[in-house]
Amino acid sequence: MSETEALESMVGGEYKYGFTTDVEYEDFPNGINEDIIREISRRKDEPEWVLEFRLEAFEKWKQMEEPDWPNVEYEKPDFDNIQYYSSTKKKDGKKPESLDDVDPQILETYEKLGIPLQEQKQLQGIAVDAVFDSESIFTTFKEKLAEAGVIFCSISEAIQDHPEIVKEYMGSVVPKGDNFYAALNSAVFSDGSFVYVPEDTVCPMELSTYFRINNMQSGQFERTLIICEDNSHVSYLEGCTAPQYQQNQLHAAVVELVALEDAEIKYSTIQNWYSGDEKGQGGIFNFVTKRGHCRGDNSKISWTQVETGSAITWKYPSVILAGDNSVGEFYSVAVTNQRQQADTGTKMIHVGKNTKSTIISKGISAGESNNSYRGLVKISPRADGAQNYSVCDSMLIGQTCGAHTFPYIESANPTAKVEHEASTSRVGEEQIFYLQQRGMDEDDAISLIVNGFAKEVLQELPMEFAVEADKLLGIKLEGSVG
């Protein structure tokens, strides 16, 4: 299967990832308390320092309040009614050594999602870490990557096999008590991916993680950590889907990126979690903390996101520009339809000298949805010559949706240059008529208009994913003009 076909099936069609896989789970009690956290740590056979990390985070979380500043409305999750750890039953109770040990139903699930894990069918040129509920099922091309010195595995494996690296970096970008959901994640986190690229290395493959929430009772609390040593480079992509359930599920992830001197990390997301039905029933609460640290001089971190799923999105992939001459980028397309609500944006924190950041945000709202951009550009006193350029454009389709922009600029350095542009447009009857007169049907017309609007962002995606993201936008908005 080619990459294009794979992505096509990953994002294509009406929500066709709403199916459930019928697997047997290990028993695990609902709710959150110290015993639960100890039990998670015990089942994962973690060293003491990880348990301490979790317990400290839990102490902080207990003191914190769920934030109410995002421009979204929802019934707060009942934290005692969530299952924080969800693992499937294994042969001999051990993590699979090879694909033969993986539950065939789970393999089939990934095949249906267009991400076959079996060796003969694997995607070419892309290494995949497949995360199913709380666990990484399998990681492809590990050996091939290891030859280049690149470590690509689940965070649980990294804790076992490379504890010194994890210990140094985990929590160094997003501290345990950073915010309510980051603290919750730090207490109960389960598998996400771990990437380590050594000095002077260009990662030979595109890396990706495919997240799947299957268990109705559970949430997903993955933690991802990517470290790029001096003068190295990696491009990473994540994809997300979940079954269609009546009730909401919580997804509270933490992603930390560290770029050392002259290093570059490109992180792309295609988020297509189940978004609920037209009445707003069900769907994922996507409350995520993503942050990159340009620690070395001349380093670069670039976030590109195509956000189309989730009932509620609350997400601000950010960059701390600590190294001199470091570069931060945020390219975002957020589409909301029906009753979806999104409050998303970024923070660019300029600390080093001559640091540069670019923010291109394209919000598209349709149906009765609400779409907000929220962004902070902060220039610290010693960030001489810092520059930011921001563009926030909103597009409205129909009369019943909303678009909002909340830009915050704090500059403490008079040599800094900060530019902000914003626009709001409506897909008009005349625009659609014009394209229909040229032979396109209404859905193709909207798709073309929206893709033109989002072009600056879509072209930042790795080539093989860009076409598919294009299609996803079109499909998401099908029939949105009455």
């Binding site: 009857e429 625009q431 008529f433 014009y434 394209l435 229909q436 007169q437 032979g439 396109m440 072009k455």
Partner: protein
């Protein structure tokens, strides 16, 4: 090819606003028609109604294309039949290149008409060929549709699109308005190149000026939602000299 019979049209949102009040018009293959008339007489509405704009409602009468009513067809379905409208105010589509729009449009129409679709390279050749007609450079293909175009460029782009899509029946809604004399000649030249035995062109215009360069077979004057008079090119010259008053008075007497 096109028969408009006793066509009555109102604004969909406000049925009391009647714009067309019984238009009759027959257009045959190989003909060039000019529809003239004062502002607000319904010329532009007629073009949009033929193209299938949803803001208007046909309350009486019919539009037949090759003998079949097209009233129930969507705008895109009418485009598939070969009906083209050059817009009075061409719409901007930022981020979508002229080339991408036109290739998608060309291939959609070709598919519907059972003609061969063009791959990107073939299409590029075809489009470049048509660029010469309107005297534009190749960058024109890569620019976003009408975004940041001058008024004259937008009008030329409409003619270019017509050239690329090769329609059977083209309504040009005031394509000549706001053009300087050089641009007017280019547009007129394009129209002449594209009109032939198998297709028809309808020029909707305020001015006799373009008719110095394009020879119409028929000239119609539209006043208050009806065709008040039809004739040949001499009618246009008379209108230029005497205005529309003599017709409105005549119409009111009738």
């Amino acid at each position: 090819m096109l028969e408009i019979k006793d066509l009555h049209v109102c604004v969909e949102e406000d049925p009391s606003e009647k714009i067309l009040k019984g238009v009759n018009l027959t257009i045959n293959e190989g003909e060039i028609h000019a529809i003239m008339g004062p502002n607000g007489s319904g010329k532009s509405t007629l073009s949009k109604v033929v193209a299938g704009h949803e803001a208007y409602e046909v309350t009486q009468g019919n539009i037949l294309y090759n003998g079949e009513s097209i009233l129930e067809l969507e705008a895109d379905e009418r485009a598939h039949l070969g009906i083209f409208l050059a817009f009075q105010y061409p719409v901007e589509v930022p981020g979508v290149t002229n080339k991408n729009l036109l290739r998608q449009a060309y291939n959609t129409i070709a598919e519907e008409q059972g003609r061969e679709e063009l791959d990107p390279l073939q299409f590029e050749d075809h489009a470049r060929e048509q660029l010469k007609l309107i005297d534009m450079k190749e960058e024109f293909l890569e620019r976003s549709v009408n975004a940041g175009f001058s008024g004259g460029e937008k009008k030329r782009n409409e003619i270019f699109q017509m050239a690329v899509l090769q329609p059977k029946l083209a309504f040009l809604d005031e394509t000549d308005s706001g053009l300087d004399i050089d641009a007017l000649k280019i547009v007129a030249n394009g129209i002449n190149e594209l009109s032939g035995e198998d297709n028809a062109v309808v020029l909707v215009t305020h001015y006799q000026r373009i008719l110095d360069y394009v020879q119409p077979d028929h000239v119609h004057v539209m006043i208050d939602g009806k065709i008040a008079k039809s004739g040949d090119k001499d009618l246009a010259i008379k209108l230029e000299e005497e205005g529309y008053d003599w017709l409105s008075e005549g119409a009111s007497v009738l």
